[in-house]
């Protein structure tokens, strides 16, 4: 099958995948959206809706969804993979049956695999034969993308072809895609910010104001950079859209799912009850589960991550977590950050 039938295939019909596919269709690109369930494909194709993930939004008429993976993959040179982190390995394994060496794979998944601590690009590498892999990340809340608000993101890959093809795919639209080569930093930024967003939500839920949120965001950025550098990232990435950019949006926006969950935690709701009430995955929870033990094994001190782990999995109350954070000794502000 010719690779040129489509410009891109978006793999995953969640909120972000659907929003990206909609953006591209509006730009006149030939794009298909792969969804797992036939009834979801039907809903997109017949009613231009994806009510479960983007309630109330009308999708562009030209957006076609499919649940036939091999046929869709064979017709597209570039795949934008947008599935939750815990489902990525399974989907990637399916992709591995049909992806070939000339495919470009760009994922937009903001998470780290639990247990293995692997980044999403590593999972794609292990499960497919594709080598030209990249990560796209930034402050991109799906409802705002759907509404056509101007936004920016970074696409990082060691292959310039991946960066250039992704940039030209989004060229001319409302999502400005900047290029980079630091895949690790881009992925760490995207995953780590979910933990900090949870923490910022907790602070909001406890009734604290902007001072507290800024404290969490700034110290959270430091923890992100410390962790990122320890696993091989370029520290400067965290000053860009995939770092501070994403952190600002997700920590201050009520649209952020992680922030919403944090807020409910801060008001004293239990995690299990919150998760049971949501239709979608909360990446911050699984990312905390992955990052905390890895940071311990690397000998890194990440107090906010530590506190969130206590709150989510060790029965700490929001008050406990706050007290422990406030009781920590204060040192030089940047003393724990090593550049490069």
């Amino acid at each position: 099958m010719s690779r040129d039938r489509l410009d891109a295939l978006v793999v995953g019909g969640g909120a972000f995948g659907t929003a990206l596919a909609s953006q591209l269709v509006r730009l006149g690109r030939r794009v298909a959206l792969w969804v797992r369930r036939p009834e979801q494909a039907e809903e997109v194709n017949r009613r231009q809706r994806n009510e479960r993930y983007l309630p109330g939004h009308e999708l562009p008429a030209g957006l076609r969804a499919t649940n036939e993976l091999p046929a869709a993959v064979g017709g597209a040179p570039l795949l934008l993979v947008a599935v939750p982190s815990r489902e990525l390995r399974g989907v990637a394994r399916q992709l591995g049956d049909c992806v070939e060496g000339d495919h470009l794979l760009v994922h937009v998944v903001k998470g780290i695999e639990r247990v293995s601590y692997k980044r999403m690009s590593q999972v794609l590498r292990e499960e497919t034969c594709a080598l030209k892999i990249g990560a796209l990340s930034g402050p991109n809340l799906a409802p705002e993308l759907m509404a056509g608000h101007p936004a920016g993101a970074q696409v990082a890959s060691r292959f310039q072809e991946v960066v250039q093809r992704t940039q030209s795919l989004f060229q001319g639209g409302r999502l400005r895609v900047y290029g980079g080569a630091d895949v690790i930093g881009t992925e760490v930024g995207g995953a780590f910010k979910n933990i900090i967003a949870l923490a910022a939500g907790v602070a909001d839920g406890m009734g604290f104001g902007d001072n507290t949120r800024s404290l969490l965001v700034t110290r959270g950025l430091g923890e992100m950079a410390r962790y990122g550098v320890a696993v091989g990232a370029d520290v400067f990435t965290f000053g860009g859209l995939a770092g501070i950019g994403d952190l600002m949006a997700t920590c201050s926006s009520r649209l952020s799912r992680n922030h919403q969950v944090g807020e409910r935690l801060g008001r004293g709701e239990r995690l299990e009850a919150i998760l049971a009430s949501l239709p979608h995955v909360v990446e911050g929870v699984t990312t905390t589960q992955a990052v905390h033990p890895q940071a311990e094994s690397l000998g890194l001190e990440l107090p906010i991550v530590r506190a969130m782990h206590g709150l989510l999995f060790e029965g700490w109350s929001p008050g406990d977590a706050l007290e422990r954070l406030m009781a920590l000794p204060v040192g030089g502000e940047l003393s724990s950050l090593r550049y490069r």
């Binding site: 591995g96 060496g101 499960e127």
Partner: protein, 530 residues
């Protein structure tokens, strides 16, 4: 290499290198004058020799002409320089010897091992060659290696600890019934009276590490690439040089390594019916390394930024080579060559049918990696990243297939203990003074040997390293005795000696060298900086 192919290779090399280096007038000028500058600088240091003075004078004449020349003449001068380098790299060639060595490999190797090489000296040991057979253990994916050779063109990429490696790799090829491989050897080896003669005639080409001109490096790379395209199997040491620290290579030279991919793409474009280039990693493992003392000295100087090119080491002294080999034989010390699974130029494993496989074992159409549009083509940035993938896969294979012996374990235990005893001491002072404790209690050594060995057994069970039989199965008393015997017999000073119930550390540089092979393996004790 056959004589007719040699001419073809030379012509191709000169053509390609000159073309690339003169793509624009600025590039042409830069290539030409950079080469002249680098060569004159090198020859300045050789003024004391008549040949050096003559060569310098010749380069000065070319420089004078180049300054007045227009683009056409500059291009001709560059072509001349490239031609000179290429002819020197390809070396002298005697087709009669080539036929002797390829058509009658056993006879040639008998000659190699019994007449000219260091192993000639084995004649002084009864049944020398058969003992080499006994003590050289070749294991791993040897069948897959042979099939890869039968099916396409192979690049063998061994670890590199000693000049002995080239001889042993050659001997392995003979034992497996494979033809000689084209191989880039340092100029010092050609000057080595023991093996220089065969270097010339078994497909070896010359690498002069003193030549720093970029064009010269291009000639070397292109030479390897063109021979691969013509179907000559190559041997590269991907670390570039012998490991100075004693550690297994973890950073590889990508330039030469990338020539496999270059040859693959060119062969696809040319419609070559056998375009495939397969890379076969292998580890060469000794309990003792002939040149250990010189190498670790150089490593320590490099860390202190005064590295030099080693021209005169243990390998250039036949008596030392003889002593080394005979001591190894006396100890019945086995040398392990372990062949890893073949890889394609993108780092994927290749199965026995020659198919590339992804990490889940699914067949991959490797041609698709190099498509530019619908046809195979080059993309310098992409291809560099592919070569990085290949390098990563080779490094992983090296790690999995490194075979450790008692010397590595005991050196690790003693050196780590020394560091623990002297927490404030920097590495150089520790090496020089030995710190506060001149010896380690024997019982403590046994206890630690057992602990580290257990961790190593677990690593082996998980497929992350290999242990030789003594290390895997011997008790800690046998293990320590084996390591002490090795360390005692060959090096000028024994690295470690037993005195009553203590272990005396005598040559800490050597202990550092041998224990470095176990660095980054997560073995206990943790948290002690190397």
């Amino acid at each position: 290499m056959r004589a007719k192919d040699r001419e073809r290779v030379l012509a191709e090399v000169v053509q390609r290198v000159t073309e690339r280096a003169s793509a624009t007038p600025q590039q042409l000028e830069q290539s030409l004058f950079d080469t002249l500058y680098e060569e004159r600088r090198r020859l300045e240091a050789e003024r004391h020799r008549r040949s050096g003075r003559a060569a310098l004078a010749a380069y000065e004449r070319v420089q004078a002409r180049a300054l007045k020349a227009g683009p056409e003449e500059q291009r001709a001068l560059l072509r001349e320089l490239v031609g000179g380098f290429a002819a020197e790299v390809a070396g002298h060639f005697d087709e009669r010897i080539y036929h002797l060595t390829t058509k009658a490999v056993p006879a040639a190797l008998t000659l190699l091992f019994n007449a000219v090489s260091p192993l000639r000296l084995l004649q002084q040991i009864p049944s020398g060659l058969s003992r080499l057979d006994d003590q050289l253990e070749i294991s791993g994916e040897t069948e897959a290696f042979k099939q890869a050779v039968a099916r396409g063109t192979v690049v063998l990429v061994p670890t590199h600890a000693s000049h002995m490696d080239s001889i042993l790799a050659g001997y392995m090829l003979y034992r497996l019934g494979l033809p000689p491989f084209v191989y880039g050897a340092g100029l010092n080896l050609f000057h080595n009276r023991l093996i220089g003669f065969f270097m010339h005639n078994l497909g070896a080409y010359k690498v002069d590490r003193k030549k720093k001109a970029a064009i010269y490096k291009e000639v070397l790379k292109t030479y390897a690439g063109v021979t691969l395209e013509l179907g000559y199997h190559n041997l590269f040491f991907p670390g570039g040089t012998r490991s100075r620290s004693g550690a297994v290579e973890s950073r590889l030279k990508l330039g030469l390594l990338g020539m496999g991919l270059d040859a693959y793409v060119r062969s696809l474009r040319a419609g070559n019916p056998r375009p495939d280039v397969v890379v076969v990693p292998c580890t060469i493992n000794y309990q003792l390394v002939l040149e250990a003392e010189t190498l670790i000295d150089d490593h320590l100087k490099e860390v202190g930024k005064s590295r030099y090119i080693i021209e005169d080491d243990e390998f250039s002294r036949p008596r030392r080579v003889f002593e080394f080999v005979s001591r190894l034989f006396e100890l019945q010390s086995r040398i392990h060559i372990r062949v890893s699974r073949p890889l394609d130029p993108f780092g994927n494993q290749v199965d026995d049918q020659g198919r590339s496989l992804d990490a889940r074992g699914r067949a991959v159409d490797r041609r698709r990696y190099v498509l530019v549009g619908e046809e195979p083509g080059f993309d310098a940035q992409r291809d560099q990243e592919y070569t990085r993938e290949l390098a990563r896969a080779i490094v992983e294979a090296f790690r999995r297939d490194t075979v450790f012996g008692s010397v590595h374990l005991v050196a690790w235990v003693v050196f780590r203990w020394l560091q623990e005893q002297n927490p404030g001491l920097d590495l150089y002072r520790l090496l020089r003074t030995g710190g506060a404790e001149p010896s380690m209690p024997l019982l403590e050594a046994y206890r630690r040997i057992e602990r580290v060995r257990e961790a190593m057994r677990q690593e082996e069970a998980a497929g992350r390293m290999r242990l030789d039989a003594t290390l895997r199965d011997g008790d800690s008393v046998q293990l320590l005795a084996d390591a002490l015997a090795h360390l005692r017999v060959f090096h000028v000073t024994p690295a470690l000696e037993r005195r009553g119930d203590r272990l005396l550390h005598v040559d800490r540089n050597l202990l550092l060298y041998y224990q470095n092979r176990l660095a980054d393996r997560g073995l206990p004790p943790q948290g002690v900086p190397a």
